[in-house]
């Protein structure tokens, strides 16, 4: 069945995007939410973009909503110190830690191009911005990551 094989082929990209933009523990549920939204929006898809970028744009919105929900949750606990992000398990890797420190726009651009493997043009479609913006966000993300790692190394050297 065409729909099932499309889901099977495309879900890895969606899952990885959700895992990197939010976290690995939430990726399963977020992926399902993405496909549910895609399913209801399918009638309105007119082919102005590729199905892949259309689907990932939906995924990006789902992730942005999830992050916003979490931030709202944190604000309710105002007055208490912000909880440390849970680093215990849940498949958190160094990669996730590094990505976490990036500004969200840069993180999205970086993950889309470096980990999902989209071209700058495709990433621009997903983000709804010009290609030049993707270019600068990816470059800034690289610079920030290099700086993070350098700072981490410097910290290790002095400890």
């Amino acid at each position: 069945m065409a729909l099932a094989s499309w889901i099977r082929r495309s879900q890895a990209d969606v899952w990885r995007l959700c895992a990197h933009l939010v976290d690995t523990a939430a990726a399963d549920d977020l992926t399902q939410e993405v496909y549910l939204r895609a399913h209801t929006a399918m009638d309105r898809f007119r082919g102005e973009s590729s199905v892949r970028t259309w689907l990932l744009a939906i995924a990006r919105n789902v992730c942005a909503d999830a992050v916003r929900r979490r931030q709202r949750g944190r604000r309710f606990r105002a007055g208490l110190p912000p909880p440390e992000p849970d680093r215990s398990d849940q498949g958190r890797t160094e990669v996730d830690d590094l990505l976490d420190r990036l500004d969200s726009d840069r993180r999205v651009a970086f993950v889309l191009t470096q980990m999902i493997g989209l071209s700058y043009a495709e990433a621009a479609e997903v983000c709804g911005c010009p290609v030049g913006t993707i270019r600068s966000r990816v470059a800034r993300a690289r610079a920030d990551l290099v700086d993070s790692i350098a700072a981490g190394d410097a910290g290790e050297m002095t400890s």
Binding site: Q11, R16, T31, M42, D43, Q114, R135, L145
Partner: protein, 199 residues
């Protein structure tokens, strides 16, 4: 152009997204700028490390996803269009029952029974369309042609004086039903779940 600008080009070059002109400019700059050379090396190393570091197993959720499509997210709301179409179906069946009653009473011709049978069929078809809008395509065609034909026939009969126009008003209602059904079947969301891609 300062180093900041060059680094954007260097980054693009690492992804194969720089034009030949830009690559040439970068090469020229790197020949003299050690800082930017270091940026290029470190950028390359960082991304390689990150790609190597990430290898989570992606679970296959195809079955669960497909199942979630069939589950209605909200309970069935009262949908005016479907209620109207369903009601028109009921009206037709009531008309048909009247016609059948005439037939039993011996008051009508065979044509009357045939008409009754057709009215029952259309009535049931309309109720079915109200329940399953996605499967109503063919019925729309049938009812539209029927409505057109009966309206034209009624106009002819009325102008020829064979029939009083008041008696033919019911056909206007039928035509309205055809329009409602058309709206229901072409409403976004009532189409079958097609993929927006070919094969």
């Amino acid at each position: 152009m300062d180093c900041q600008d060059f680094r954007v080009l260097i980054s693009a070059g690492l992804d194969g997204e720089a034009t030949p002109l830009e690559e040439a400019a970068v090469a020229e700059h790197l020949a003299t700028c050690a800082e930017c050379r270091r940026f290029e090396d470190e950028s390359r190393a960082v991304v390689t490390a990150m790609r190597v570091g990430e290898a989570p197993v992606v679970p296959d959720q195809t079955a669960a996803i497909l199942q979630s499509f069939d589950r209605p997210e909200v309970p069935l709301r009262v949908d005016i269009l479907r209620v109207l179409v369903g009601t028109m179906g009921l009206m037709r069946i009531v008309t048909a029952l009247g016609l059948f009653a005439d037939a039993f009473a011996g008051v009508s011709t065979h044509a009357g029974t045939e008409l009754a049978a057709m009215e029952v069929a259309i009535g049931i078809g309309l109720i079915f369309a109200a329940a399953r809008p996605a499967r109503s395509g063919a019925l729309v065609v049938v009812l539209t042609v029927l409505a057109l034909a009966t309206v034209l026939g009624a106009v002819a009969d009325v102008t020829a004086g064979r029939v009083d126009w008041a008696d033919e008003l019911i056909h206007v209602v039928d035509a309205a039903g055809a329009v409602l059904l058309w709206r229901l079947s072409t409403r976004p969301g009532s189409g079958s779940r097609r993929l927006p891609i070919t094969a």
